[in-house]
């Protein structure tokens, strides 16, 4: 019964299901590279086992999948809500589940790359930056209207740079675009971006900068959520525009930057003015200058016309006419004033003159008296003692004088009137 003994031998050689699974488990467990490894993928078939509190799910990418389990003790420390479709990185050991004959990833830690976890991590960083005042609106600087030297901090190979160059060439080619090269993804990206920001800051001649990279997967953009990058971005000595990924991508750097641009091209458009609009502005200013000058010339001309049509030029005689009239009026007033002053005095003078005339010696003379003056002594003769015989005398009567000589001097008038 060869068949029987063969069977006995085969039985002796064979292993049980438990043995093979246990063996496989030992093999896997002894491989360090699959013990304590990080596996990246998307969550599928998520199942929370309500009684045990364990979590069962699959990690998959577009070609393959792996079963995963996370025990309750680890599951409680996952800081976000798991859901199907979430991109995660799972840390754990790969081993065999001997009872089910499946190998699986025994998850111990899950880092989210998708919405929930990203949002949470993002929020924590945002809070720390906000506490330090780095997100204050007052910190945001205005972009220069006409930049001259622009730092573009990005991968020199990337599409972002090509887009920015294209926009600046078209819109405003008068600037100098300085590429500050750095890695924008991968393990060294953070330190590379930090050094590039440093170099740009030290250069000291930039008017504005753009930190940018093109679109990519969420974890490719994660470097722009790095806190140290964000802090250094906030520290830049010139205004910074952040343009990472697409419109829908929003990073911590976007929050910190002076301006956030939805795309690299949009950043370029924000940073430089449009040449054609600047040309329009120049044209506009030129015509404003012309208009002002024409207005000024018109004003001068109309002022001249107004002056020329003045009565001064049409009736120059009117200038003297008014003066003449004024003069005549003044003369009249002067006359009146003088009359007023002179008239009363004239009257008074007449009275005084009448009185004066009443006591005038001439009046006495006309009644027959005469005045005798001794020519020798030149004195009026009032007494006989004032004359001696032979003196020449002058006698004044009412209508004139005549000369005479004293013949004799006596006490009493001796006939013949008074001399």
């Amino acid at each position: 019964m060869a068949h029987f003994y063969d069977s006995i031998r085969l039985l002796a050689q064979s292993v049980t299901v438990t043995e093979i699974n246990t063996h496989l488990k030992q093999i896997l467990d002894s491989h360090d590279e699959i013990q304590g490894c990080w596996v990246r993928g998307e969550i599928a078939d998520l199942h929370h086992h309500t009684q045990s509190g364990h979590i069962y799910f699959s990690l998959k990418d577009h070609q393959s999948r792996i079963r995963c389990v996370m025990f309750r003790s680890d599951a409680v420390s996952v800081p976000f809500r798991l859901s199907d479709g979430l991109s995660v990185i799972v840390y754990g050991d790969i081993s065999v589940y001997t009872r089910g004959g499946t190998y699986q990833l025994y998850a111990r830690q899950i880092l989210g790359l998708g919405d929930g976890a990203l949002a949470r991590s993002f929020e924590l960083t945002r809070q720390r930056l906000a506490e330090d005042g780095l997100l204050d609106v007052a910190r945001k600087r205005d972009l220069p209207r006409f930049p001259r030297r622009i730092a573009v901090i990005t991968s020199p190979e990337g599409a972002a740079l090509k887009d920015i160059i294209a926009v600046m060439k078209r819109r405003y080619p008068i600037v100098e675009l300085v590429v500050v090269p750095c890695l924008v993804q991968g393990d060294n990206a953070v330190s590379s971006i930090l050094s590039a920001l440093d170099a740009a800051a030290e250069d000291g001649r930039f008017d504005v900068g753009i930190l940018t990279r093109g679109g990519g997967a969420a974890d490719d953009l994660w470097v722009f959520n790095d806190e140290s990058v964000a802090r250094q971005l906030a520290d830049m000595p010139f205004p910074m525009v952040c343009a990472v990924g697409h419109e829908r991508d929003f990073t911590v750097c976007d929050l910190v930057a002076d301006v956030r641009a939805p795309t690299p091209s949009a950043a370029a458009e924000m940073v430089v003015p449009d040449m054609s609009s600047v040309l329009d502005q120049i044209f506009h200013m030129e015509s404003r200058a012309k208009r002002s000058l024409i207005a000024l010339a018109d004003m001068c001309q109309s002022r001249m016309r107004a002056l020329q049509s003045s009565w001064v030029f049409r009736r120059p005689d009117m200038i003297t006419g008014s003066h003449r009239q004024a003069l005549e009026e003044l003369a009249h007033r002067l006359e009146l004033a003088l009359t007023k002053i002179i008239e009363p005095r004239n009257t008074k003078l007449g009275l005084i003159a009448g009185r004066l005339e009443a006591c005038s010696p001439l009046k006495t003379l006309s009644r027959g008296y005469s005045l005798v003056t001794n020519m020798r002594s030149n004195q009026l003769v009032l007494s006989t003692s004032q004359v001696a015989p032979g003196d020449d005398i002058e006698v004044r009567v009412s209508d004139g004088v005549f000369s005479a000589r004293v013949k004799g001097v006596g006490g009493e008038p001796a006939g013949g009137g008074r001399h």
Binding site: L177, S191, G214
Partner: protein, 85 residues
């Protein structure tokens, strides 16, 4: 004083544009005499001409700031080139 072309050369594009703007505003205020206004107007025309020709003749200058940036001996790895524009 009217600005000669040699002075225009020394001023940056932005300075010239700013000066043009200032002159236009001064002219619009209309407080200056005719002679001074004419002088400023000539200056404005010269500024506008110089700005315009600089813009029209300009070519984008692209340079690299190559010191210090670490790890640039190898090219940036596989940045996704799926730009939206």
């Amino acid at each position: 004083m009217a600005v000669g072309t040699e002075n225009l050369e020394k001023m940056s594009f932005e300075e010239r544009l700013a000066k043009l703007e200032r002159i236009v505003e001064t002219l619009e205020e209309g407080k200056l005499g005719l002679a001074k206004s004419l002088e400023l107007f000539e200056e404005a025309v010269a500024l506008a001409r110089s700005c315009r020709s600089e813009l029209e003749d300009a070519e984008l200058r692209i340079t690299h700031l190559t010191d210090k940036a670490e790890g640039m001996d190898r090219p940036a790895v596989g940045e996704a080139d799926d730009e939206a524009e």
